[in-house]
């Protein structure tokens, strides 16, 4: 790897202390109650805390906290498109950038964006785009930046929710909000909105998998879908239904946060 | 602080001396200075390298202070990069055509434009025979910091007056801007020395580009090399060199 000359450099190699942990690592149980007390095989999402308009410099922004997962999203634009082509003349462009703070995961991450981050950014873009009225923004681009401050699982799903909130806060015209939800399939049981350790520690049984869905609640459309691991087709469809249900659980919280942000920004207009 | 009238005396005293940026001269109440050429006799004209700041005259380039009676002062500096000035003639290279103009590189910070119509006898139908890559000798019609410079190959009365595209042959060399000014000065000693050596055609652009053509390629090269070495030599050294060339020693 070429040396990074644009940052203060440390030693060539350093290792995470967790590799030398003298205590045996605790594998979360694959049955019974979950580590944080939530219920298995039920649409038991973590309560979320959301807030709009925290970034003063951005056109719109949102912060979401679900358990220990913390994300911040800011929206800039519409601004002049940097690379222009024919389609930009009629339709705006949506760009997304999702990054992890180096201290956001149990293992320290690099400053340099890996291909994994690009994967997250791409799914974010494909999940948000169907909800945006991009034809209203010719010749311009709308930029969505997501920063993961702490990764305690289901970051992709929460990033989608957070970004759609920030877009609405920015006053970008949208057909609908976009909500995200993840589940983790573990053998015959599943957990909704998994934590980091539930995502990374697999018990040895067959049929393990993860699924993330982005959903437009008012239009009843799935704008993003991604899974990995192994799942029977029936499990997968059941999982999609569960995720949609999870999104509906989130919906009132997000609506209220947005309504609150509008009210805070401005008193109601006089009745005409 | 110098006394009234003494200010110009101080300035005149410094003529021929080397000044550096930040050196200042204070004006008295009666002394005025004009930035325009059309100065009244009692007003001082502020030439290149000098700038007026309130009641002071400030040096902004290093070089030798020069004076031309009655009251024109400027700094003679050995600068390599040319900055376009209205009315000056330069040698440029045509780099592109854009619409009905040529884009001309004259060694400044941006390309100058040169209209198809700014050649002697050119009309919308009768376009001048100038190709990309050709050299042109042209004059600045517009040159100020706010605008893209514009060149023309005609004078005020529509005549070429020596300007236009160069024909084949000849050699373009680059010399310092200081040398160019010495070459163009009336009764330039370098020019006189060269004339004595052998006959040659010399076109001098204010932008430090000189076009040379002598009777043979060999002679052209000798003239070019002599000119380029003039920059770093004293008068005696130069005369000595020219003598040796004349004697066929080089």
């Amino acid at each position: 790897m070429p040396t990074d000359t644009k940052r203060v450099r440390g030693p060539e190699v350093s290792q995470s202390p967790s590799l030398f942990d003298c205590r045996p690592s605790v594998v979360p149980p694959s049955h019974g109650a979950r580590a944080d007390g939530r219920q298995r095989d039920q649409v038991d999402v973590r309560p979320v805390f959301v807030r709009c308009g925290l970034v003063s410099q951005a056109k719109g922004s949102a912060y979401i906290e679900a358990g220990d997962t913390k994300l911040l999203c800011s929206v800039y634009g519409p601004r002049e498109t940097e690379r222009k082509d024919e389609t930009d003349m009629k339709c705006g462009r949506l760009t997304t950038d999702m990054r992890f703070a180096p201290f956001s995961c149990p293992e320290r991450g690099s400053w340099i964006q890996g291909s994994q981050d690009k994967n997250f950014s791409l799914m974010l873009q494909e999940s948000l785009q169907p909800a945006l009225c991009l034809h209203k923004y010719p010749r311009s681009q709308i930029e969505v930046n997501v920063m993961v401050l702490e990764n305690s699982g289901s970051v992709q799903a929460h990033a989608i929710t957070c970004a759609s909130l920030a877009l609405a806060d920015a006053g970008i015209e949208m057909y609908d909000l976009v909500l995200g939800c993840s589940i983790r399939q573990d053998g015959s049981s599943y957990v909704v909105d998994p934590t980091y350790s539930e995502e990374s520690n697999w018990s040895s049984s067959e049929h393990q998998g993860g699924l993330t869905v982005a959903f437009l609640p008012s239009l009843n459309q799935v704008s993003g879908l991604q899974s990995d691991g192994e799942m029977a087709e029936e499990t997968l469809t059941a999982g999609i239904r569960t995720c949609i249900e999870g999104c509906y659980k989130l919906y009132p919280v997000i609506q209220q946060a947005l309504v609150k942000a509008v009210r805070r920004a401005q008193p109601p207009p006089p009745e005409s | 602080m110098s006394t009234t009238g003494g200010m110009f005396a101080v300035l005149k005293e410094k003529v021929g001396q080397v000044l550096v940026p930040g050196d200042e001269f204070c004006f008295g109440a009666e002394e005025t200075i004009s930035l325009s050429e059309s100065a009244k006799p009692e007003r001082a004209v502020c030439g290149p390298g000098l700038r007026r700041s309130g009641d002071r005259l400030v040096v902004m380039k290093s070089g030798v202070l020069r004076h031309k009676p009655p009251l024109t002062f400027w700094i003679d500096s050995q600068q390599k990069r040319y900055v376009a000035t209205k009315g000056e003639t330069v040698i440029g290279i045509v780099t592109a055509r854009a619409g009905d103009t040529f884009r001309v590189d004259f060694g400044g910070s941006e390309l100058a434009s040169l209209s198809y119509l700014a050649f002697e006898g050119a009309t919308k139908r009768n376009r001048p025979n100038v190709q990309v890559g050709d050299l042109v000798f042209a004059q600045f019609l517009i040159a100020n910091k706010d605008m893209e410079p514009e060149l023309v190959c005609i004078d005020g009365s529509g005549r070429a007056n020596g300007m236009g595209a160069f024909g084949a042959g000849g050699l373009l060399i680059k010399v310092s801007l200081g040398l160019v000014r010495r070459l163009l000065a009336p009764n330039s000693d370098i020019r006189l020395d060269l004339e004595q050596l052998f006959p040659c055609e010399l076109v001098v652009g204010m932008n430090g580009r000189v076009w040379v053509r002598a009777s043979s390629v060999q002679q052209t090269l000798i003239v070019a090399n002599l000119l380029q070495s003039c920059d770093t030599m004293t008068t005696q050294q130069r005369q000595q060199l020219f003598r040796r060339v004349q004697q066929g020693a080089l």
């Binding site: 009225c133 015209e173 509008v262 | 103009t101 893209e148």
Partner: protein
């Protein structure tokens, strides 16, 4: 329906038979939905049906559109056109940079072939202009000042950097040195003065 109803994008507002579409809303399968987070506003404008819109704190004119009056700053000029940065659309400031071009032929309405750019604009001038086209892939927004009300509104003199006073439709004067400079001066209308 309460007059101060709030909505978020995707909220179903009413049937298309009840209202006419205003701003911040869209039509889908015969119903009007909100496309913004804001207040729902119904206005009766003498028509049979009220106009329904969703409004936010700022006018959502986010982009310069054809026909819009924009305030811009001249950044560079050459003999064919002036380049500008668009600062305002109407009276709404733009947060991001948009570039525009005023071509020589769009400077004024009469004697178009006699226009000289440096006698019309200088870098740093604040100019009122109208958008005539969004331009194509290569070009920027195309603007015009070929109306009496359009042109330079604020300019600083070359000599003293003082703000100049318009003295005719084509000249401005420095209050300190009294030197005159040429500009395509706008006849300022009160409604744009605040910009």
């Amino acid at each position: 329906m309460s007059p101060t109803r709030l909505c978020v994008p995707g909220d179903k507002l009413c049937s298309v038979e009840d209202c006419i579409l205003g701003t911040g809303v869209y039509l889908r399968h015969g119903y009007i939905y909100s496309s913004l987070a804001g207040y729902v506003l119904k206005k009766n404008e003498g028509e049979q049906l009220p106009v329904i819109s969703v409004v936010r704190e700022t006018e959502v004119q986010l982009l310069p559109d054809v026909g819009a009056i924009v305030t811009c700053k001249v950044t560079s000029i050459n003999s064919r056109f002036a380049k500008v940065h668009i600062l305002y659309v109407g009276s709404t400031p733009l947060k991001d940079l948009f570039r525009g071009t005023i071509r020589k032929e769009d400077v004024r309405a009469t004697e178009k072939d006699k226009v000289e750019m440096h006698r019309s604009f200088r870098p740093g001038d604040i100019v009122l202009a109208k958008v005539i086209s969004l331009g194509d892939v290569q070009s920027n927004y195309l603007l015009t000042t070929a109306e009496n009300e359009l042109g330079v509104v604020v300019a600083h003199s070359d000599a003293a950097r003082a703000q100049m006073v318009p003295i005719s439709w084509c000249e401005m004067q420095c209050p300190q040195t009294h030197t005159k400079e040429f500009r395509k001066v706008a006849r300022v209308q009160p409604e744009y003065l605040e910009a």
